[in-house]
Symmetry: C2
Subunit: 555 residues, 2 copies
């Protein structure tokens, strides 16, 4: 099979203005970046919609292997299938982060015959949204240290600054630093560090903002640290919110591109799926729903981690509700959950598949907990056998549920026609979603409900540190916020090594952090990485710029 | 008078595609960023030019006050005057840096009726060039630390890494840091720090590169540090040059905008004018010359600092040669040089103006040292009196030289008609420039020639450290490189407090740094700031985003 970039080379993309026109977006709202990418001004949302009954489809997955189960590729393939069926459809996806693209993971624009293009631009700087978020985040940091340097009128305690700098880079050496060294003219020495830009609260804020007023409100509410008198200090008191809004103005407008088969795709925002909510921007989702009958979106990691946040945080805040859920699984993931050695997942083995079904079952239960119809989609890989896939189909259909094998990677939209048709069936009698917890629940109750109902835990324990954090949240009167649990993505439990369907385990909550601007409490279980490192042989070593201007090795 | 943004609001810009068309640039070379900005693919330079005899004009200045003497504004005004006279003209200017725009200085898009637009976009993220440079610079850093972390096959000595991280931010707390803290999994602890992006060698490299091959060669040649065996280590050995080229691909294409009066302007690259050469990119200058009869460009700080580098570094490397020089001066600068209290420079006083003429005289001599014709332009400010300006005119014309008062700030191109006409006269019998030194000269000789001939120094002293650096340069066999002297911009000497025309002073060279990729030796005299700090009340506090999407307080 051809490489992703060879396949992309063969496609014949339409001018992006034509794609926008196909969505009935008036030309006045376009902010083009070359001929292949355009931002769409969010004021397009105030124009009358022809899609009163737009249906949103959420693509999520079973507990992923390290390589991922192909949620993005499935989302793109499903969109292309709708296009092939003649339906009005639009995707809403996350923006790739530069750091992982240079490091381990490579790009994030799909693969095979299910890609969004142009992959090189989308994976590298795209329209500069991540850079704008980096600049806004770090201008807050520079302002904090500068404020202390110039007399510290706000009485900020340098030991209690919770706001960290960010960089869109995998750079482990910046995780923990001492800054402000060099003497009286160089600032105040203190501990600090950098997270990757995708982990910035500004990213979460941008992705949850409904408009510029909401963005302003969230920025103002962002907690940056505490005074020597232990009083909270918010961005508002720095007096730079106008500058932050200016830095983020263009970044708030969603980016429109197309798939290999001309399916329109908004790609906008890319927050982490553990310490943040892990979905593309609310505005991109709304834009897709405003302009197409079918809007297809995804949520990061497995259903327990990403989709829970999609419903309990994003849908609740944005007042949206998907008509159905696609639960992506793979033969190799189920084999891993069935106990197979991770290095031999490409070897055919029906027994391990069967044993791994309990992971799928738990995710199915979780979808139903939210009161949603679903289709289980088996994303076919080249090594999968028909027998292995038949086991999954039989298991799902025996429950009276919808199943589709999807071969969009090798075949594009054509390979996802069965999936598209099942999705239409699933979306027919949609009921409103039921959240896992209510905002009025206590923080402990919220966490307990997610851990027991979603993860299948027997119990939740709180460290002394977490209990202290809880009292702090109470003091700040922020107990009404939803919770965003950071947990190992490779397990339903908080132990990354427990595959399958763990039972009788206890989740330990170590810390609770306040993201008052984003509007949630970050609940940390285990060590969560906010700044990845590069591997010994970074993916960047295979990136080349060709004489014709093409870039290979990205995406 | 109206504010800059009010004036800009009244202008009626043409679509940027029309501006490109007016330069006979074929549509295929355009990479539009909205309707007001486009990149022009550098392959446009390979299309046949209709401008075989294009004349380049360099705008420089006398020793500036802290506010600057309006070189950029004069350059824009002069270009507008050429447009008004019906001439084919194109500007080539530097890109503003975000850091100073948020801090002390504000934007850098001209002012009054001589501005380039859209000021908000140009001053904030523009087309992302600075962000791309930041990413490329910091990916080198991340790769260095990652290489050491994974076994250090290159034997890099962490105490001898000369490559620093950068950020486009005024953030003094990052000048000196300790990074890699936190234990075995977080990297190797070492000293480090951040410069502002404009001070990155990548910025200088991008601005001096003639094409992608030249960019690749320069990146490969960039020195990043030394091994434990004191051997130099270059970027090439990191194996990431392809990735760096990919990150910088779009950034290498110059950006085209327009002035308030529709004069085309390439705005591309913004290196510091002390530790780097301080001019817009070679490619932007060549693009302007390729597409217009008159190309007008500028060089940073005073003539001694910026224009010396323009000739001895940029013109020599790029094989270009200006037809004439505009030497911008102001009444207030000459009063400062005449000894007037800096806080009263707006008070009329002919005596101080007269006493300050010796600064102008030295700069005139310097222009003539390069064998160039010149026009002295007095950039008129609102408080200037006719008597003060008459003194300067008389003085210049008594020497048989060309003088023009320029009122472009208040009047736009119309206010610079006299200047444009004098520039045409000056450009009539241009002779090839004479460099101040030859590349074959020893490093000491190069430095001595600049210091004595340009600055008027009696002598040059080298610290022990500088002598050690010299031996190092010899060992690296890089003595053929041109030198880039970093010196106080507020004086012809290396003492920032010495105004007028200092005599009998000695320049002390403290350090000599190797910028092998950019292709020059950075000669440090005094403490040169590579990372500015924010003032107590940053300019950002006045930036606002209006409900209509306009940004005020920028530029």
């Amino acid at each position: 099979m051809l490489s992703d970039s060879e396949i992309a080379k063969q496609s014949q993309p339409q001018p992006i203005s034509e794609i926008a026109k196909s969505l009935n977006i008036d030309e006045q709202y376009l902010i083009p970046f070359g001929n292949e990418i355009t931002k769409i001004n969010i004021s397009a949302l105030t124009a009358p919609s022809q899609q009163k009954d737009s249906k949103l489809i959420l693509v999520s997955a079973t507990t992923p292997t390290r390589a991922g189960e192909g949620k993005t590729t499935t989302t793109i393939g499903l969109g292309q299938a709708f296009t092939q069926l003649g339906d009005s459809v639009c995707l809403a996806l996350r923006e790739p982060s530069l750091g992982p693209c240079m490091g381990m993971k490579g790009g994030a624009t799909g693969g095979g015959y299910s890609q969004v293009i142009p992959a090189d631009r989308i994976n590298l700087h795209f329209t500069g949204d991540f850079h704008a978020i980096t600049a806004a985040n770090n201008f807050i940091s520079a302002t904090i240290d500068n404020h202390i340097f110039h007399g510290n009128a706000l009485n900020i305690d340098p030991r209690q600054i919770v706001w960290r700098r960010v960089m869109d880079m995998n750079d482990r050496s910046l995780r923990k630093i001492v800054l402000g060294l060099g003497g009286k003219m160089q600032g105040i020495p203190r501990e600090g560090g950098f997270d990757i830009t995708a982990a910035s609260e500004i990213m979460a804020i941008l992705c949850l903002a409904n408009d510029f007023n909401d963005l302003k409100r969230r920025l103002n509410n962002t907690l940056i640290g505490y005074s020597y008198a232990d009083q909270p200090i918010f961005v508002k008191s720095l007096g730079i919110t106008g500058a932050l809004l200016a830095l983020l103005r263009d970044a708030l407008h969603p980016n429109l591109v197309q798939s290999l088969e001309g399916t329109p795709a908004f790609i906008h925002g890319g927050p982490f799926a553990n310490i943040a909510h892990g979905c593309n921007s609310v505005l991109a989702t709304k834009m897709a729903m405003h302009h197409a009958e079918w809007a297809i979106t995804e949520a990061g990691f497995g259903f327990d981690l990403g989709a829970e946040k999609f419903f309990d945080i994003k849908c609740r805040m944005a007042e949206i509700d998907p008509a159905a859920v696609v639960l992506v699984t793979t033969v190799r993931a189920l084999k891993m959950h069935g106990g197979m050695d991770k290095n031999h997942l490409t070897t055919a083995n029906t027994e391990f598949v069967t044993q791994g079904l309990e992971n799928l079952d738990k995710h199915i239960e979780n979808v139903q907990l939210f009161n949603k119809n679903l289709v289980v989609a088996c994303n076919r890989f080249a090594d999968d056998t028909d027998e292995e896939i038949a086991i999954i189909r039989q298991h799902v259909e025996d429950k009276g549920l919808l199943f589709a094998e999807s071969n969009h990677y090798a075949e594009g939209g054509k390979g996802a026609i069965e999936l598209a048709e099942k999705v239409k069936l699933a979306a027919e009698d949609s009921k409103p979603f039921e959240p896992v917890y209510y905002l009025q629940d206590s923080v402990i109750e919220k966490i307990r409900k997610i851990c027991t109902a979603m993860y299948g835990a027997a119990d939740v324990a709180f460290t002394k540190e977490a209990e202290k954090d809880l009292r702090h949240v109470e003091k700040l009167k922020l107990t009404m916020l939803p919770v965003c649990i950071a947990k190992a993505p490779s397990s339903l439990s908080d132990d990354p090594m427990l595959h399958g369907r763990p039972r009788d385990f206890q989740v330990t909550v170590r810390n609770i952090q306040v993201n008052a601007g984003a509007g949630f409490l970050v609940v940390l279980t285990g060590d969560i990485m906010r700044m990845p490192g590069l591997p010994k042989e970074p993916a960047a070593m295979n990136i080349e710029l060709l004489p014709n201007g093409d870039i290979t090795g990205v995406g």
